[in-house]
Point group: C2
Chain length 355, copies 2
């Protein structure tokens, strides 16, 4: 050893040894994540906080993810561009918000009359869904991962009972996105009103109906107190949120931190599905207590058939414009055809016998 | 620096610096996990391999888990004792196998007419279920975590159609565990036959019926080719496997590796639920093709009511002997009462409108 030291010089050897030690202490990677949600939007935003916490703990502080809610960055619908542009490294959002930028992003959240949550996760992880999502997002230099599921969303609150297609004609309803386009085809007057003004609009008959999420997030809005007909869901049977990551930033992470990050995303997504299941069950029990007159209704077969027809027409129009969109929708359809047969004989028949 | 070196001696300083470096490279922790399953038992054993792989990658090789299938350790029903005794650090198994050792372990897998998979995960993670499971296992110096769900298991293959309670009387059926006790109360002659001999026993009328798992694991057994009545499930609506960990061994892990381990367990458990969903859907499509005459049947209301009554009697007998078991069953019942209301208006009514 002394001979070796002689050649290098004592100080050099010590500095090399110390630098090895410092390197092993290892670099801290700091990422910034923007969410589409406000800071109080439980359980959506919890998913972002949970994955950040898990990443920090599993990496022993080497991977730190700062979560900025929309209260901070003020651009809930700017998340896609901010992550694509590198202002943020990651985003927690929902794919279908970006259909105006790229129509192919639409089907990765949930499609009307589409896959349920377990069916959709099976499609993502075993039916080619995740690969198709990466294919769509790679054009934008982004990675996209399943980021939490709401389960079945409710069809909305109506002040009056809806029995026939005629009852829908001219009805003023707040129902955004693709579901709104389906409803418009049935003669509904679809309006857009800011969330903070919805209760008043419904109370003052500015609108006759509205769609929000499900009991877990509906309860604090108070709609059930003024619109007692609560219709079951058809338009978003399993809304999956997405975590998008700037690909260049992701590639800069060491391999172990990449796995820590994708694992934290994956488990916090499943966790949100389960958390929201619990929140829905709890909120629904409370809603019924607060408003015993609330009535759960399903749309009639006549209305459902008309919705399905309108839905198919819109899908065909969009598919004609984008072969990649057609590829994704066809993949979902083929998977559902297979998986629904199993769902029928397992979950459905079990529930039917144990209501 | 030279002054400091003078005091300590050159070699000492170098050794200290090098030891700091070695420490930072950090200790490798090696754990051994025994599974109740054989090496080919997909998707059950995949869960063990997946969590081992994830732990290794996330820890950058600092946490290595060796998976020994029952082919290796030869004691599928010895896993509990081997982990409790410290011969193994961890086990991948199912809680209800240990009801003979501790009756309180029974309800954490699945109970007849009980919670569905999302309901049960919600109970574990938000309804107090996990805390109750730890309470039961802590007496054995073990930790226990949800370790993968099969979803709804099928009620079994029958050579003849079962229409009335009378048709069940004297029928020879292989159906182990608690479900077998329920069936025995209905006059079924419950027999135990080794898995490798089941096909021949069914083919030669040594037995008239048998319960195995669901399409994903039933298909390779070939039962559908000789017993065309495939009854829907009632007895294991959401069988959750468990990962058990020796508490002393767990406590020796550094905090970051503890979180890596529990996260890897948690996500691989959810993953198994989704993997088996996909496998069931695929296997069922294949079974129908191989055997077009296969008929999916549900038990009649008369039979279901008798099963529910027998089930309740058995639960009451066991609960009378163990206050802790009663506490767990009451917790599940209360949670199901709340959650099923939500399941009805969400998953059930959605599926009903989209069969």
């Amino acid at each position: 050893m002394k001979k070796m030291i002689g050649k290098l010089g004592v100080t050099s050897v010590i500095l090399i040894a110390m630098s090895m030690s410092a390197q092993a202490k290892e670099k801290v990677y700091k990422l910034k994540m923007a969410t589409t949600w406000g800071k109080a939007a439980t359980p959506l935003i919890d998913t972002a906080h949970n994955l950040s916490k898990m990443a920090e703990e599993m990496s022993n502080g080497r991977l730190l993810i700062r979560v900025d809610s929309s209260n901070k960055h003020k651009a809930p619908l700017g998340v896609f561009d901010m992550v694509k542009g590198g202002q943020y490294d990651m985003g927690h959002t929902a794919s279908y918000y970006w259909k105006g930028k790229d129509i192919n992003t639409l089907p990765f959240t949930s499609m009307p009359f589409g896959l349920t949550a377990p069916e959709q996760y099976a499609w993502f992880y075993h039916g080619g869904g995740l690969e198709l999502m990466q294919k769509v997002y790679s054009k934008h230099n982004l990675l996209s991962f399943p980021g939490g599921n709401t389960g079945v969303q409710m069809g909305g609150f109506f002040r009056k009972e809806i029995k026939t297609l005629e009852d829908l004609k001219g009805l003023k309803m707040r129902i955004p996105g693709f579901a709104g386009e389906v409803m418009a085809k049935l003669g509904i007057q679809v309006t857009n009103i800011a969330p903070g003004e919805l209760y008043t609009a419904l109370d003052r008959n500015t609108i006759d109906a509205l769609e929000w999420v499900g009991p877990s997030m509906d309860i604090n809005m108070g709609f059930h107190k003024i619109a007692p007909y609560y219709y079951t869901g058809w338009h978003e049977p399993a809304s999956e949120l997405q975590v998008i990551v700037n690909k260049r930033k992701f590639n800069k992470l060491p391999k172990d931190l990449q796995t820590i990050l994708t694992t934290a995303i994956r488990v916090s997504a499943y966790d949100m599905y389960i958390h929201n299941y619990d929140m829905n069950a709890t909120a629904w029990a409370k809603m019924k207590k607060e408003q015993p007159n609330i009535k759960v209704k399903t749309f009639s077969k006549e209305i459902m058939d008309a919705m399905k027809k309108a839905n198919q027409e819109l899908r065909n129009e969009m598919s004609a414009k984008s072969p990649l969109l057609k590829e994704v929708l066809d993949s979902q359809d083929a998977y559902m055809k297979k998986a629904r047969e199993w769902t029928k004989m397992s979950d459905y028949l079990y529930l039917k016998d144990n209501l």
